[in-house]
Symmetry: C2
Subunit: 153 residues, 2 copies
DNA sequence: TCCGAATTTAGAATAATTCTTGATCCAATT
DNA sequence: AATTGGATCAAGAATTATTCTAAATTCGGA
């Protein structure tokens, strides 16, 4: 599942201290988080909804949105956006960016070379406060690029 | 207007060779592009619409969207997205990223330090084809950070 | 157990964008 | 100069991801 050793790092649900959380880790929130951890494939809200529904049929889409917002605010997951497509959710805590394949639509985590941080070497206006760096790369993934090549032959 | 020398570079409307364009540079398209060049402040589609409407009252919002799409595909402007907020449009041809102030909502171009390209030092899956790098930085701009400080006193 | 705040639910509402359809424009050809 | 066909435009309807609303439910603490 992991493309490289050490490129995935998530928050262990078992380690969550609800007291320090500021909100309750309800059944729904836990289930939404579990579903995202299960596949790590950057699902959208409605994909999460479908998957959670299988194990918890009474959950509503609005709740999934609520849970995703809470989990995002708490830092459990990151919301990932590409153009105007539905937001996707990523539980990887590492410093990384996202690659979107314009052929198959897949999203995958991508990393900087050894020793360089996401925000490194950016020259920002003096006095600005940074809350978040986000790198999005659009292109064609190796699998789709290969297929495209074969179709040409 | 330019924060630093050499940080803005746009396509001169006068230099456009319609023959090579693949589409007509119509009144509407030209006006939309002109309006974006005029302020360089990353307007949204409806902001563009309002500004164009002043000089061309008969234009429709749908046409503004169409023009923006054409101009984007042709590489005249870049569509810039932040979370799920309305897309904004940037005519700066330089290799750069965008800083979003979460206080005032302003967007500004930001640049990498001398000699480093946007896509530099990213380690991508072997065989992937990159079409676009996009860096989005969220935070508080110097002006808003200053105001916040003063309010605390 | 009871209370109140937090959370969930269902459905309505919102808003940016896209789609549809008919009208208009314009360059190339007759 | 008139004709024609494809590109473009305009207006409004449709779409869709997301947010909002209001009522019901849950749950921890008094």
């Amino acid at each position: 599942m992991n493309p490289r050793k050490g490129t995935v790092e998530t928050i262990d649900p078992a380690s969550i201290d609800e007291g320090k959380l500021g909100f309750r880790m309800t059944k729904q929130r836990k289930m939404v988080y579990d579903v995202i951890l299960d596949e790590m494939d950057h699902p959208s809200a409605s994909e999460v909804f479908l998957r959670v529904k299988e194990r918890m049929p009474s959950i509503s889409l609005a709740t999934v949105y609520n849970c995703l917002e809470t989990l995002t605010q708490a830092g459990f997951v990151k919301q990932v956006n590409m153009d105007r497509a539905p937001s996707r959710y990523c539980p990887n805590q590492m410093d990384h960016g996202h690659f979107f394949c314009s052929e198959c639509g897949e999203v995958r985590d991508v990393f900087k070379r050894e020793g360089t941080a996401l925000g490194e070497s950016w020259s920002l206006p003096r006095g600005s406060r940074v809350e978040q760096f986000e790198m999005v790369i659009k292109g064609v993934c190796p699998e789709c690029a290969k297929k495209a090549k074969q179709n040409k032959k």
